[in-house]
Symmetry: C2
Subunit: 399 residues, 2 copies
């Protein structure tokens, strides 16, 4: 038998511990209460005041509209996680996140994830952090690889039906993946569905990146231009096993996420000029822009179908689109029918390419041209590609 005072002491200790635990949990979990209506009121407690100020500043007409949009982010790594955080802080209506990877300490050289999250799935960890940051945003996360057959069907279904109003398609798909296969899967899905999307990428040497807006039928799709591969026919597991990994920097990935979400905001909220392609070369602080027309002979039949549809619409309502149509340069000897509209000179593009790294056999630079027969030199960067599409075409014809 024990004394009453002992029981009282133990009970007091339990209450003490429970209180401390609830304080500790509150720190992380209850960020702030829900906000039903965005307000422009200038209060320290209003998380939307500086966004709503965009209206008074004459930048955005109707900022509140942001709450009606749904964006799917595929890949929640160095670029995708920051992209999701920016959209969350801007008060987007709903985010769909797709990734099948786990957080590792090896990811700590980029923004967003923290060491205590190592081992958690990226989508779960991201959802937890993002809900704390802005509980007004709706989240739907999928912890799977979109490139397997079943998952691809489910992915197609969710981007077709996963908007705020279930049954409606998302407003935009953002590709923040790090491999060719996943980019091709997104491209295939968006061509079939006529879904507008944006592509993003960072080179394996960490010092360049790009974003690209894809409008099926109107702009080049990912299959229209010769494919750009991160590591030809080698998956990341192999890379790791061989003791080789891509370089990455929080700076480059932060800039790419920043210009990506800026383009998303301009597209959704209708301000400024939406870029079709914006590159970032960190070595020279050079930012090339361009627009690319679709390839009439694209391998993707849905891309060709969308092109036909776009032409029909254009014929019915001419002069809808301005930017791609303007300053058109036709490369007459280009049998792929791809047209580049570059706003920079060839010299500028040439000056912008970084050094070509010395890599082990089988590993190539990000966005290099895969050589089926190993007949092409391994290291050609995207800048080389942009520099001279004709040259590239000539080489491919010879394969």
């Amino acid at each position: 038998m024990a004394s009453v005072s002992l029981v009282e002491d133990l009970s007091a200790r339990i209450r003490e511990l429970e209180e401390e635990l609830s304080r500790e949990k509150a720190k992380e979990r209850s960020g702030r209460p829900l906000i039903q209506k965005m307000s422009a009121e200038v209060l320290d407690t209003n998380p939307y005041s500086r966004l709503m100020a965009l209206k008074r500043m004459g930048i955005v007409k109707d900022y509140e509209q942001i709450r009606t949009f749904t964006v799917a982010v595929v890949g929640v790594g160095g670029v995708g996680s920051v992209t999701a955080e920016m959209l969350t802080r801007c008060g987007i209506g709903k985010l769909l996140l797709f990734d099948y990877d786990k957080v590792e300490l090896a990811n700590m050289n980029r923004l967003f994830f923290q060491p205590y999250q190592a081992g958690l799935s990226k989508v779960q960890a991201a959802e937890h952090t993002l809900r704390n940051i802005n509980p007004d945003v709706q989240f739907e996360v999928h912890n799977y690889n979109i490139t397997t057959l079943d998952n691809f069907q489910h992915f197609m279904d969710r981007i077709s039906n996963g908007a705020l109003e279930e049954g409606k398609p998302v407003d935009l798909v953002l590709s923040c993946v790090d491999n060719f296969e996943a980019r091709m899967a997104i491209n295939t899905a968006c061509n079939e569905l006529g879904q507008i999307w944006m592509e993003s990428g960072v080179s394996e040497n960490a010092v360049s990146g790009h974003i690209q807006l894809m409008k099926p039928g109107e702009t080049a799709c990912f299959a229209c231009a010769p494919p750009l591969v991160v590591a030809a026919n080698i998956d990341e597991r192999t890379l790791k096993r061989e003791g080789v990994c891509a370089a990455s920097l929080p700076t480059t990935m932060g800039v790419v996420a920043g210009i990506l979400v800026q383009n998303v905001l301009k597209y959704l909220l209708n301000f400024g000029t939406v870029s079709f392609y914006l590159g970032y070369n960190a070595m020279q602080d050079f930012f090339p822009t361009m627009a690319m027309k679709p390839n009439p002979n694209c391998d993707d039949k849905n891309c060709r179908k969308q092109q036909e549809e776009y032409k029909r619409k254009e014929a019915a309502h001419p002069k809808q689109e301005v930017i791609v149509e303007e300053e058109e340069i036709i490369h007459e000897d280009n049998e792929w029918g791809i047209e580049l509209v570059s706003e920079v000179s060839e010299e500028e593009l040439k000056a912008a390419s970084g050094p070509i790294p010395d890599l082990p056999e089988g590993i190539t630079v990000a966005y290099t041209i895969p050589s089926k027969e190993n007949e092409l030199p391994a290291a050609e960067t995207v800048e080389d590609l942009e520099q001279s599409l004709e040259e590239l075409m000539a080489k491919m014809r010879n394969i």
Copy 2:
């Protein structure tokens, strides 16, 4: 009297709660163990593998050197907090943080701080998060306003002596402040100490920003060119009281922090081209670069002294610096002696300016020219300034 089994139950509950509490605390506080030596080994548990890969990629010769550098970040807001996080994740040796503000929910539209931190001082909250992210970095934080007399002296002392090796100056000072007075204080300190620093800024309409490298005596200082003010003679408290606040976006601030830290890495680790000035206009995705020579008639006597010293050094070791000297354009009718070397045309600069917001009386756009006698129109942006320095000089002569 109570039963033994009750005491056992209570004790078990206490153990359970203690375990849960320690797990909860561990989540936040013990991010990862210290790492004595940076390694390039490709392991999921190595937070430096993707940074050390910059060496194999041929970008950086000696990445480990990052651990020997100390950087001071003044202002831990939308740009400064992300700047500090990027440097922390890159494994910088030591960070000094200066800010006197508290975290507010109104800051949640930018990256880094989270709602549960509202009410904490920015430097404390930042130190806590950054230590969890990378315990290898040393932190020194100062929760004060650098512009008051005593604090300014202490600030001068810490940038002169606060390096990893106490008594040595920091390697770089980064200005991430949001007001004219603080920028001028940093400028005064760095001119007196001959301390190299970088300036950053984001406009009040949230859609443009810039970074600038300042080398006392070699480049224009903040007092050389006509001052650029956030809100002329009105402090932020007044702005808030009147129900007016500046707009801000996580995208623009993320991009500015990204290009700032990229410039820091290029400067410290000696790769790529370090930019003297890099602007970002989000409306047009336009990124002007330029370099500015110091004004021989600068109001700051220490700037003039540093100019003399630089000239003496230049005469002793000619051809040390290339970029500022190259492509020099002399504006002959410019009595301030300021020389602009712009890599963009006037048309491009003109095209890059966003709309001028409709603001209440007394409030002007970021980086406008303060009018002493209210004789100048209130809304002239930095783009206008860059566009035509001569025009501006003519106006100032007329005052």
